[in-house]
Every structure is written in C-alpha cells, then in structure tokens.
C-alpha cells in the first residue's frame, strides 16, 4: 500500500518549482556518506487484503480473556462496554482530531473532556480533576512528585499491599529526584498496619499513599489513615478504583489531598494493558501544582461560553526549565470513552455495575469458604477482588481452571511470597454469571469438570 497521493508527474513539477533537478539534490544538507545505501530490510509492501489477513492471523494466535470466563484482575478488568462507547469513539471527528491547540475548532473535544473532568470530580468528591494521564501507575508516580514539591521533602510512605508493577513505576520515577519510598506493612487481616504507619510517620514525610481497595481487594479504614497522615503534616494520596466509588466513601469524604486511579474500567477494552486512562483529582489549592492537561470553561469575544486548555505554564510551553509536567500527548480518546461510558450508564447503571461486581465476588467468596483445600486468608471486607489460597501451587489450580475455559485469577506467589504457596487474586466483575461462579467452585473443590 501507499497512502501518498502525489503522482510522479506531481513530484517532477514540484521539484521543478523548487528549482532542483532531483530529490537527491533537495536533501543536499544530508551528507551522502550518512545516507542509507539500498533498501531497508522490511519486506515488500502489502495490499490491504494482505495486511488484514496477516494481522487477523496474529490475532487468532491469541486467546482473548474477553471471550472466556475471566477472573483476572490486578488492575485490568473484563467489563461490559456499552455500544454507545464504541460508536462515539469510532467517529473520526474525535479519533482523528489533534490536541485542541486551536480551541475555536476543537470545542467538541474540549467540552467532552471538560465534562469528563466534572464526572471524575463527582466520583472522587474532589474539587478538580485533570484531563487524563497515561495510567494509574504513572498518575500515582506524578502525584508523588507533586506531593514532594508541595511539602518540599522527599520521603513517601506506600502500602506494602500495592501492585508490584505500580511500585516499580514509582521507583523509576522517584530515582532521579532521590525520593525515598518506604513500605507500610499489612496486618494479619491484609490491611494497613496503622501502628507501623504511625511509627514511620515519626519522621517527616510528604505523603502517605492509601490504596482503596488495596491490591488484595480489601477496604482500608481510610479515615484512620487520613487522620494519621494529616496529623503528621503529610498529604494523603488515595489510589482508588473508580467503580468502587459508586458504593464506598470517595477520597473527598475522607479528605484526601490527591486522588488517582485507573480508568480502564470505564469503557476501555483490556487491550493487553494499553491504552489505559490515568485520572487525577485534587483540592482547589493544588490545581496549579497538578501535572497534565486541564480544560477550563471561558467565554469568547461575544460572551458565549466555550472551552480552552488552561494553566499551560506548568507545562512545556513556558519556563521550560521550571516545568512541573512533561505531559504533552495524553489519553484524550480514553477520557472521552470514560465520559461516554459514565453518561450512558448514569447513576443507576454505574451503581448496578459496582453492586453486581461486589455481590458476585462476595457470592463466590461464600461458595469457596469451607471447601477442603481452600483458605480465605483475609476476611470479607473487600469490594470485588479477594485472595484465595489453595493447597499446592497456584499454577496447579490455574491450569485446571483453564482446561475448563476459566481464567482463574492471578498467582501471587512471585510478587507476595509471604502469602505462601497457592495464593491467587480473584476478580469478579459484573460480567460473570452464577453458572461461571459455580464452575469456579467445582474446580476449586477438585471436581472433574467437563465443558
């Protein structure tokens, strides 16, 4: 294929107009010895039909979780995406538009993102939200840099029960700024050890990170962590699951200073972990310290309401050496997806998604309790994901489940060896049916299951 429209005749005419005899002459500033000799080793061009069949064959080499009974979670969830989301996102007015630098011809994108910001502030009960970031991990890393800048200190406390993938992103972002990250251990029930947190806070810290629910799916005593952090002059950063916020207290209610999270659950396919949608919301006083894009309402020269990108002085555009954010490309289309998702679901639909996820996960928990060879180490204070421990290695259960068409969860053996062998993190979203839960139980009970 070639997507170039100029013909040979066009090119000849254009070279003539420019005043050169050949393309080679035109690139005279590129010394000949620097130029590539011969063709790149990339193969022959393919027709559209060949591209489609080649890529479809690659896609067929995958077995997508979305087509199985998936109990995988750990940050990415198999949720139902209403058709409205795909319809709106597939309109080229949105997906082939650019960053809204010329606001007058980008009101569609700008208003949609402004409305997205509004929805995030309402879900989190915070004052303001930015217009999307890469993912939860980088949003949390950015919030950590932000907190250290606000508090002018370089120590932060994070829960030990945090996704190790997120933890590694925090570490790589912090290394350049010499930020020290210390872990708050968990108690036997899997939640933050408040006494340990208090001990760690005897030394000045910029922020305490609260994961709500935590990596094991458990709900923390957010207010207690919040008072502890504020009492010692640290900020509280809440890493939250947006769906859980339909039911549980949002960060604003326990006075978090910054709230971040992963928006993939809001209408974005799993896509092997990307693109995702990081969100960040904060209090009024920290807006100017907040990284990433912000959209504001304003008026045009006739007094008509309109929207613009604002506070770009925090960015690349001015005071380049003092920039507090390098975010330029953001996840605009993913923010749009979240806005369409939340608009479609509305209060009731969104609450139903959360309620069903909670109900089904708790139902499975009940079905598993008391089964021989199965332990539930952490109790029932969870939202939609919980830890189950099997006798024998996790892989044995997971491969048996897979034979029955079930993705049984995420093994915790490598990341959290202290949980012992056989620990699996199980997520149950609104998409799972009672029949699938029963199948899961039967496999966990060691029954021979044929599908």
């Amino acid at each position: 294929m070639s997507y170039v429209q100029n013909t040979d005749r066009d090119r000849k005419e254009m070279l003539g107009y420019i005043g050169v005899s050949s393309f080679d002459e035109l690139i005279e500033p590129v010394a000949r010895e620097l130029r590539v000799k011969g063709d790149l080793k990339l193969g022959l061009p393919m027709s559209e039909a060949e591209v489609v069949s080649h890529c479809a064959a690659l896609a067929r080499r995958n077995s997508p979780a979305s087509e199985m009974a998936s109990f995988l979670g750990a940050g990415i969830y198999d949720r139902y995406i209403p058709a409205t989301v795909r319809y709106v996102l597939s309109r080229s007015e949105f997906y082939t538009s650019y960053t809204p630098y010329q606001a007058e011809v980008s009101q569609g994108t700008l208003q949609a993102i402004y409305e997205y910001q509004t929805m995030i502030t309402r879900l989190t009960a915070m004052d303001a939200a930015n217009a999307s970031m890469y993912d939860a991990a980088t949003s949390l890393a950015e919030s950590l840099l932000m907190a250290c800048a606000i508090k002018r200190t370089d120590r932060v406390l994070v829960p030990a029960a945090l996704s190790q993938r997120i933890r590694r992103v925090l570490e790589s972002y912090s290394a350049g700024r010499h930020i020290t990250i210390e872990s708050i251990p968990w108690k036997d029930d899997g939640t933050v050890d408040l006494d340990e947190a208090e001990r760690l806070l005897s030394e000045k810290a910029a922020a305490v990170i609260l994961a709500q629910p935590n990596y094991f799916g458990l709900l923390e005593d957010a207010s207690a962590v919040s008072s502890l952090a504020h009492g010692k002059g640290a900020l509280l950063i809440a890493l939250v699951d947006p769906v859980s916020l339909a039911l549980v207290a949002p960060p604003g209610e326990y006075e978090a200073d910054i709230a971040v999270g992963e928006g993939q659950s809001l209408g974005i396919p799993q896509s092997f972990g990307g693109p995702l949608l990081g969100f960040m919301a904060t209090r009024k006083e920290y807006i100017r310290k907040c990284p990433g894009r912000l959209i504001s309402a304003t008026v045009d020269s006739e007094g008509k309401r309109g929207y613009v990108m604002t506070l770009q002085t925090r960015e690349q555009h001015i005071r380049r050496e003092k920039a507090t954010s390098n975010i330029c490309t953001n996840e605009g289309l993913c923010a749009l997806a979240a806005a369409v998702y939340l608009s479609t679901m509305g209060d009731d639909g969104f609450r139903e998604v959360a309620l069903q996820s909670a109900a089904k996960s708790h139902r499975l928990y009940e079905m598993l309790s008391g089964l021989p060879g199965v332990t539930l180490p952490f109790g029932k204070q969870f939202f939609q994901e919980f830890v189950v421990r099997f006798d024998g290695p996790a892989s044995r259960f997971l491969s048996r489940a897979k034979k029955s068409g079930i993705l049984g969860g995420v093994s915790l053996e490598d990341d959290f060896p202290e949980l012992g062998k056989g620990a699996v993190l199980v997520a149950v979203t609104e998409k799972r049916s009672l029949a699938e839960l029963e199948l899961f139980r039967d496999i966990a009970a060691g029954k021979e299951v044929r599908v």
Binding site: L26, T84, E104, L219, V248, G273, P275, I295, A297, T329
Partner: protein, 480 residues
Amino acid sequence: MSRTIFERFYEGKSGSFIPRNDCPVEGLDMLLTRKTPTSLPVVGEQEVIRHYVELASKNYHIDKGMYPLGSCTMKYNPVVNEEIAGLSGFTGLHPLQDETDVQGALQLIYDLESSLCEITGMDHFSLQPVAGAHGELTGMMIARDYFRDRKEDRKTVLVPDSAHGTNPASVVICGFTPKTIPSGDDGLVDIEALEREIDDKTAVFMLTLPNTLGLFEKEIKKIIGIVHKAGALVYMDGANMNALLGIVKPGDIEIDIMHLNLHKTFSTPHGGGGPGSGPVGVRSHLGDFLPVPRVLKEGERYTFFSDMEKSVGKVHAWYGNFNVLVKAYAYIIALGATGIREVAENAIINANYLMKKISRHYDLKYPGPCMHEFVASGRNLKQYGVRTTDVAKRLLDYGIHAPTVYFPLIVEEALMIEPVETEKKETLDHFADVMEKIAGEARNNPGILHEAPVTTPVRRLDEAAAARNPELCWPLENSE
C-alpha cells in the same frame, strides 16, 4: 454553544446495559459508605448519542481537512488500521494471561521492535513508553542509570534552543539540569557554544533531528564526535523521524538513545491528544538499561523476559499502549521498505514546495532546503497591526487548521508548517493561496483578521480569563 451533558438531565432513566443480577447476596452494608451522590448525567441512550454527535460536529479533524501543524505530523490515518486494532484477538487480551495465550501479541511486539531497529539502525527498542515525552523521560532514565552504573557523576543535559518544549521538562523530571545551547544564525547547533559548554559533568546532549526549524544538522558527525569525546551520550528526539525514513539511520551515525512517536511517524490517530506511543531505542551498550519486560524469541516461541539487573525498571504498569502498536505495525507492513522511503521523500518534497510558495508572502528566517517542515514568520505583517495569532485564526475561517504558532521560540511571530506526505499537491496549492489571501487582507483590511474567526462554533476565546480564574468542572447546583 452546546448544552453540557449535565443539563440534558430529565426525569427518566438510563438504559439497561447489564443483565439482571443472578447472584444477590446479603451483607454488603459494609461497602455502602458513600454519603454524597455520584451525580452522573442521567440521560437516555438517544440523548447520549445526540450529545456526542453534536460535540463531534464542532471538531476539526484530519478526515475533514489538512492539519499543517509543524512537528505534530498529522497525516492520514489508514482506516483499515482501526478495523485491525479492533479485533477481539487484540482488544480482549488481559496483560496477565499465560504467554501461550498471547503468542500473536508477543510476536507483534517482537516484530515491531525489529522493524523499528531496522528503520532507525538502533540495536534494541522498548515499546513501553506511551507518549513521546514519556519516551524522552525513559531515555533520560536510561542515561541516568548508565552513568550511575559507571559511577560517573554527570548531572547536566545540554539542549539546543530549537528543541521540542517537552525536552527540558523531561530532563528536569528525571533529576538532571538542562542547559540551553544556542543556535547559530543558520539555525543549526552553534558548535563553538557546544564545545564551550560541554564538560565532564555533561551527561547527555539532547538533539532534535531534523530540528524544529526543519533543518538537518549538516555537521552532525562532528557534533556527535564532540559529545562522545566528552564521555557524554547523544539523545535524539525522533519526533521528526518521518523526514529520515529510509534516508538516515540514527543508529548508524552513532546516536546512543532515541525515541519515536509512533502516532506521528507511523500514523496512528491522535484522538484529540492521545493515546500515543513513544518507544525508546538504544545502541547495544545501553541495551541492559531498557525497561522490563522485554520480549524474546526462542525458536518459534515468544516469551517475556524481566531478569535484567540494570534495567531502569518500569515506566508503565504493563507493556505500553499495545493497541496503538497494532496500528503502527499494520502501517509498516503495508508500506514495506519502498513505501517507508516514499513517506520521507514526499514529506520533504511537499515541505520544500510549500515553503517556496509561502515565501512569496511571509518571511523565511532560514531559507531552505528544509526537511519535512519549515518555519515562516509573520513579522512583516506587524506593520499592519497583524499578529501571527490573527493569521492562524483567519485560517480557521477558510476551513483550514492553523499551523503551529509561536514555536520554536527563536523565530519571531513563528508559523511552523508541516504539510506531511499524504497531502496532495492541489491541497498545498490551496493552502498557499489562502495564506496569500490572508497576507493581502492584512495589508488592506486588517480588521477582518482581528475579528477572526467568525465562521467557527465559537469566536476567539479568552484564555487569559481561564488561566486567571479556571472553571474546571460544571457546578453541581446547575446540573438539574
């Protein structure tokens, strides 16, 4: 002005999107601790669609017309790529599925990395960074850990004043100190200034190639020699790589680290500002520092590999914006070797052709030849009281998106123009004609330009007021 979605509220209900709950359970009270309502929009499905279709009608986009935005590289997005990226075999994958279930995805990642290595001459690529600036940041982390590993204390990064705006920001966020290197009168790196500033504290020289003036550094070999002699690394901002495709391989000229913007050079839609993808490439001496995991090929099998002691770690929770990678991959295999080179040739021819046409009415501080973009100046219109902003806004009235304006900072009243390779000669002629018409209006009737735009959904917006008093969300009390 469109109503906000919150004003479309009516006493009705949203549709039903998920099946009835077949697992009711008791005892969820401990979860129900939210006190404030979520206050999401409550609108019917048809209203949702009408709302977003109304918003869509207020957007300019590449399928409607050209975007001559310098350095942003807004080219045609092949529609077939959307179809491919939408296959459930790609969108439905969970990142923690067994390797055996995702062999196609791993193969795609592996093959795309190999193609990018072939195109750039770098030895290794990581596809984990999800935006150009994210790639820059990752590149700086690689340099940081490289010098730490060598126990060298190098803290300064030299950045030419013609660099992209995100460069110094990425440098700062990574903990380095940026130092500006001025350009010479020819718009190229002032080599004497570079020699003066570089020392044993310099970690990286961060170069945009071709630079943001659209110029190729003629003395690139000499520049790289100076940097390497000082023991520092050369970083190349590859956002402008579409000018070099099939013409120069940065790895061959000993660039140490570079990033690519897949959404620019390899044509994936920008979606109102993202998602993007900013892979980072390095030569072999830096391979150990790339983010984990990497994808390896063992026989016919693809596996993840994370056991890299010197790795900078992770910059994204998973493997980057995989769905964007699918589109870039489809684009590269469609074009093949000859198509890839054709991109650069046509981008360069289009830019030089347009530059010459525009130069009849706008100043050119740095006359050509240029690469894929060039910077004109509207300073000759200042005598009529007309600024570059006015030219940009007037273009909107003529149904054309404005170029990048006031960037790079070193050109007065800058208009940074990049026609890209997919625009046809006729489109360029039309753009040049409109630019000529606007220059004429500036001379004869500057008022029209000050008033512009008049045909757009809103008139010129008060950005200063927004910055002074930002209104970042729709007030709750106005919602119902």
